[in-house]
């Protein structure tokens, strides 16, 4: 019997959308399964209460949760996230969390693909080179840049990844007046300020309209289509081919398989709880790293008792996040010229600056070491969270006139600038996903248990970079400068768990992100990454998923 679909893709975020785009453009019939609902461009708003303070686009943690294992006083302690409130869901809507990103995108450096070879091993870390080189991924970085619509400016820097095209498809987005001060201060310190590539259109392009500088970008869906989410950049054009069936509220709870192939997915409608089975020639997992591993482990059967694609026992292992931290400083009206302060207070424009000077540390701890990237931005303009941050003084809750004064002063007399450091989260034996067989979610699936541990090296890199960032802020004249570094992972920057490689005994996927065990199964999200580089993952996820789409087409598996 002919399958209704050539391919079933589970998850519609950055990677799922990109694979769907490739396959649909090539004429194949694709079902894209998304657990959440569709929120259309025109339905998005800047509703802080809904998007930032309630679980509107993520599951209720009492229904679906993770168990987090952290080492406390020398012992591993489990805490379900419905107790901690620390959600590991990231945007369960069509397009996934790419709808909600700030869109600061960077390519990984060629060294990031050969971390072990270039920088050597680090005790306690499971560093491996990638199965492909930067040169193999470069054409797809370029393709993603074009399709997503990344705005920016090609600028020379010794630690920038080389480009095959002269410049970005669009000029950078508009910038705040603070960039002049930032650039001047960096140059005084001998640091090179760089314009941040951003997945936000600065000019109209087709159906997508340019950024309208709403002042509320990260954590919110975009109402003009400027932000290059998977929904805007890939799913919308894939739908236009007529080859894509988008199935929303469709949660995949199990993959059924024989020894050699996946045959069906078990799909539960999240609204009606009715279940059905869907079949196709190939299956692509794109759920986000920890959830793809969880689905594979939950799909264990008589042919694959350890879980699908897990003959190596490596599914879920070597989970990585983005290490680093944040810091910032404050500019006060009283310390500045009136016109300079008022220019700072102009709403909506981007800081758009990043620093790569410490991406590679040429002479640190006796040799060349890998460092990280820094992004600068204003404090998020969310009114409620900014106001809440003013409620204490010396551990005492303020109220009445005191609170009103503190809140008013914070909003009208100061402007905060932040930096975020991104450096490698080294993979270790103590950072992985397994199944919590004691706990089931509302669909009867074993909950994912994430053991989380940051290698001490990660923090030492972040600390070194943070000191340099503080100097920049000092030079700018900011006050109340601070750094806040910790080994607590950002749950929206997660990768690994299904490493790709050349050895089926030590990797889950081959270099094509295809299962070693099951030929019609691919994993297209960030699961494949053995190391994560020192950048946000999104551009790399887009690029690799476009590569995987191409590989599937060329493999003739859909013919």
């Amino acid at each position: 019997m002919r399958d209704k679909y050539d391919a079933i893709i589970v998850g519609s975020g950055a990677s799922g959308g990109a694979v769907a785009y490739q396959l649909c453009k090539a004429g194949y019939r694709v079902a894209l399964l998304e657990k959440g609902r569709l929120i259309r461009r025109e339905e998005f708003s800047k509703d802080e209460l809904a998007y930032c303070r309630r679980d509107i686009v993520t599951p209720n943690l009492f229904d679906e949760y993770h168990t987090i294992e952290e080492k406390i006083d020398g012992a591993w302690v489990e805490t379900p996230t419905f107790e901690s409130g620390w959600s590991f869901w990231n945007g369960n809507i069509v397009g996934g969390s790419s709808n909600l990103m700030s869109g600061m995108l960077h390519r990984m450096h060629p060294d990031d693909f050969r971390l072990k070879t270039v920088y050597g091993e680090i005790e306690g870390a499971n560093i491996e080179d990638w199965a492909i080189s930067y040169e193999e991924l470069e054409p797809y970085y370029t393709l993603a840049e074009e399709l997503v619509g990344i705005s920016g400016k090609a600028q020379p820097h010794p630690y920038k990844a080389p480009r095959s095209t002269k410049d970005f498809p669009q000029a950078p987005t508009q910038e705040s007046a603070i960039t002049k001060l930032f650039d001047r201060s960096c140059k005084a310190l001998g640091v090179t300020p760089l314009i941040t590539p951003r997945a936000v259109l600065s000019q109209d392009r087709g159906e997508r309209l340019a950024c309208y500088y709403s002042n509320f970008c990260g954590s919110y869906g975009c109402s003009s289509g400027a932000k290059g989410s998977s929904r805007e950049a890939f799913i919308a054009p894939a739908l236009a081919t007529g080859n894509l069936t988008l199935l929303t509220n469709s949660h995949v709870t199990k993959l059924h398989s024989t020894q050699k192939e996946v045959t069906e997915v078990e799909v539960v409608n999240t609204l009606t709880l009715a279940s059905q089975k869907l079949s196709a020639k190939i299956f692509v997992l794109a759920l986000q790293a920890h959830e793809s591993s969880r689905l594979l482990l939950n799909s264990a059967n008589k042919f694959h008792p350890q879980g699908l694609s897990n003959s190596s026992g490596e599914v879920g292992k070597n989970l990585i996040f983005s290490a680093g931290g944040a810091g910032g400083g404050t500019f006060y009206r009283k310390s500045m010229k009136k016109k300079d302060f008022e220019a700072l207070m102009q709403r909506g424009l981007f800081v758009n600056r990043s620093l790569l000077d410490w991406y590679i540390q040429k002479n640190w701890l006796g040799g060349k070491k890998k460092g990280g990237l820094v992004e600068f931005m204003f404090e998020h303009q969310n009114n409620i969270s900014r106001a809440i941050s003013t409620r204490y003084s010396n551990s005492r809750l303020l109220w009445g006139k005191e609170l009103a004064q503190a809140m008013h002063s914070s909003f009208t007399q100061s402007k905060k600038i932040r930096f975020e450091i991104f450096n490698d989260w080294l993979p270790t034996d103590d950072c992985f996903l397994s199944l919590d067989t004691k706990r089931k979610d509302k669909y009867g699936m074993s909950v994912g248990k994430l053991r989380i541990h940051g290698h001490p090296h990660d923090m030492s890199v972040a600390k070194r970079i943070a000191k340099e960032c503080e100097k920049v802020l000092q030079e700018m004249g900011a006050e109340d400068i601070y750094s806040s570094l910790s080994s607590t992972p950002p749950q929206n920057l997660i990768a690994g768990g299904c490493r790709f490689g050349d050895d089926p005994k030590r990797a889950v996927l081959n270099k094509n992100c295809q299962s070693f065990d099951i030929a019609n199964l691919f994993v297209a999200d960030a699961s494949f990454m053995p190391t994560g580089g020192s950048t946000p993952y999104t551009w790399t996820i887009y690029a690799n998923a476009l590569r995987v789409g191409d590989i599937i087409i060329k493999s003739k598996k859909l013919s």
């Binding site: 509703d47 809904a50 409130g85 109220w399 006139k401 809140m407 909003f411």
Partner: protein, 166 residues
């Protein structure tokens, strides 16, 4: 780490009550006496005559009531807010509603000295700030007075339904 449940448990008078979703969904309004206590507290936290609108003006207590009973709100936190209001009622033997400003200040600062009291006041403060600065579609921030007082505004476009029309 201090978990949400640890935080609530440490603060609890009678332990956590894990009521089922079915049980809780039936009730949509605060008991009147607890509503009055929360209103009295919020009016004290956001009184008239400051740089901010008063709680009574920006609609703090009605917002709090609707928020607590919305399906998107954490049911443990809702129960905690109710328990704290009862604790205040019982500690002051039902007299809290008759307190003048000075007595109220003393009562709340004393409550803040306890672990439960400080956590509870912080939570009521957060709910009040949400009422002050969320989009007026949620019933607070009357005539955008909260935004105006802080010389700010919400993002554009504004929501046309509550909670993305769940």
């Amino acid at each position: 780490m201090t978990t949400r449940r640890t935080f609530l448990s440490a603060s609890a008078v009678g332990g956590l009550s894990l009521v089922s979703a079915k049980e809780e969904s039936r009730q949509r309004e605060l008991p009147q006496e607890l509503y009055n206590i929360l209103q009295k507290v919020q009016n004290h936290l956001f009184p008239k005559g400051t740089l901010l609108p008063s709680a009574s003006l920006f609609g703090a207590t009605d917002f709090l009531q609707e928020t607590l009973y919305h399906s998107s709100y954490d049911r443990d936190i809702r129960n905690f807010v109710l328990r704290g209001a009862k604790e205040l009622r019982d500690t002051h033997k039902g007299e809290l509603l008759n307190y003048n400003e000075e007595q109220m200040e003393k009562a709340l600062r004393n409550f803040e000295e306890t672990k439960m009291g400080s956590n509870w006041l912080s939570r009521v403060m957060i709910l009040s700030i949400e009422a002050l600065l969320s989009d007026p579609i949620y019933g607070g921030n009357f005539q955008e007075l909260g935004w105006k007082a802080l010389e700010t505004t919400g993002g554009s476009p504004r929501p046309t339904s509550r909670y993305v029309a769940l």
